[in-house]
Subunit: 337 residues, 2 copies
């Protein structure tokens, strides 16, 4: 009887301990950045996150100030042979062509419809803006979100044949998760169109619409058939690039990040603003060095050019992430192999 009682009590203790243990958060012991090769970049990231989240560290940063900003094109997803939004614009012009028969004989639309890249190039920035306005304006924000979703689900990248939003960087997905696990609030601050990103960033990056900052179109509130709509006008409201990135951070986020990650000189001022603040700060650039697995480009590239950033990174204490050296995997689909 006594033995039985003791056994019963032991079982109860074990069950209770089990119940307690299941409520205690497990310590994360696995490598939070498995696609990052051992080395300086990974060490600097992990050392920074450790010291700002350690309450006993003099560099401790309270959760409410753990703001991180990421560029998108070339930082979270690829951007070659052209910004993915350009392919969207070209596809959208083709989709709109039947309703605009005059485009068959009018540049720059004709160039797109005939896949005449020389004529398209000859139309210059002015031509490109015309195309962008036609592709992005004239619909409600609700309609535009559906257009982007449909395109993202069906369009394929010209050289890899992959869906554009599967060409995101696995090491960056791990970094986003790692930062969130350490209670960072993570934002995108991109030159890309904000309404071109929001329909899919939550599913792909875990970043909700209100944490996506980007370029935008003018809009107008209207009542149509008794129902309110927000109409996208064929007019640029804001370009989020270079020195306007810190302005957008200030306007949308309202506090200075402690970590900023970019890949081009368009991100220079974002890193500069971020790391000029008091206390611990981290600025990082992805350096596209991997011609085999991705692309290799920097100083002379018209897409994602990185020159001043390379020249001044050391002076500012910024980390240059060397894609070929630092990343063991580029895209998520390679993890399944």
């Amino acid at each position: 009887m006594k033995t039985f009682t003791l056994k019963l009590i032991t079982i109860m203790l074990v069950l209770l301990l089990g119940a307690c243990a299941s409520q205690v958060k497990p310590q994360i012991v696995a490598d939070p950045l498995p696609s990052w090769n051992a080395g300086t970049s990974k060490n600097q990231i992990m050392a920074f996150v450790s010291r700002i989240s350690d309450p006993d560290s003099s560099d401790f940063v309270p959760v409410s100030k753990r703001i991180a900003t990421f560029d998108n094109d070339g930082t979270l997803w690829a951007e070659q042979p052209a910004y993915f939004q350009l392919f969207f614009i070209l596809d959208r012009i083709k989709a709109l062509a039947p309703a605009n028969p005059e485009w068959a004989t009018t540049q720059p639309y004709r160039a797109v419809l005939e896949n005449d890249m020389d004529a398209l190039h000859a139309s210059g920035e002015h031509g490109l803006i015309k195309l962008a306005m036609a592709a992005h304006g004239g619909v409600t924000v609700t309609e535009f979100a559906t257009i982007v979703e449909d395109w993202m689900a069906t369009a394929r990248h010209p050289t890899t044949g992959m869906a554009y939003n599967s060409m995101v960087y696995q090491p960056m997905l791990e970094l986003l998760d790692y930062l969130r696990a350490n209670e960072f609030k993570v934002f995108i601050v991109s030159g890309g169109g904000v309404e071109f990103m929001r329909p899919w960033t939550e599913a792909v990056y875990g970043i909700p619409p209100d944490q996506v900052v980007g370029s935008s179109m003018e809009t107008r509130y209207e009542i149509r058939d008794g129902k309110p709509v927000i109409l996208r006008l064929p007019e640029i409201h804001f370009i989020d690039d270079k020195d306007t990135k810190p302005l957008a951070i200030n306007r949308f986020i309202g506090q200075r990040p402690i970590l900023a990650f970019g890949n081009s000189d368009g991100d220079f001022e974002m890193l500069e603003w971020t790391t000029a603040g008091d206390g611990p700060r981290l600025g990082l650039f992805v350096h596209h060095t991997d011609a085999e697995r991705e692309w290799a480009y920097d100083r002379d590239s018209s897409i994602g050019g990185l020159s001043r950033g390379l020249d001044e990174a050391t002076e500012h204490g910024w980390v240059i992430v060397d894609m070929a050296r630092d990343w063991s995997v580029i895209y998520p689909y390679q993890m399944e192999k």
Copy 2:
């Protein structure tokens, strides 16, 4: 010995149970809105929150779509005898006067310095904008945040003698907490200056800077003595009022709220946009009916006028919260009595 062992085991069990219990979140059984009197308004709010958060309800809304937007002036804090930001502007003009000796003889500044309300009124909207630009521009965003913090800590309301940010509504603080407990993400969408609100909204409302949308000034990025600054220019960038509130919601939040709460016709389109969406939606107005404990005003008020909202609330299914009837307490300090 046996008794001692049993006692010891009993103590261990009690300790373990205690440890377990402290890890289990207690069920909230207390009234989450104690400062709301029983009645239709409270019932409609609680019924809405219950059915959108019940996974078995056909009205269930996933957490990522539980967006709520609140006006600030007259909805979260008081706005009489004038918007509190106007008192900030007047105080700031006085503080800047020694550095601007010509103001002693120039309108509309002279009117402020001499507390000449007739002359101030005569200067009209044009005069007010001049004052606002002088009070809000010409400093960096970092400097401006400190100016607002200092003012908020020292300035006192002309009739109540209270700090302005203690004139927030206790029932609304409870509602913000209740919504967050039900996993809403809560935003301010106010005509007030965004940088006038952000320095204190987190401490007072629990709303972080990036969840505050408001009117804003033009800004410029500059390097000063080798350090980047963001300068506030004496020029309006955006006024967040009426039909631009839905545009700001779209631009900053990127999805349509399911709940919107305002108090004036400046919030009409925010409620209209919010409640015109598919699925369950809730729109609410605070109706200032309490001349004794707060103020009573609506159709004819130049501050927080509410006329069309009252006329069309029934048609839209919006809730009119009657301050005198629905709120048992106005300000938090009254809770301590």
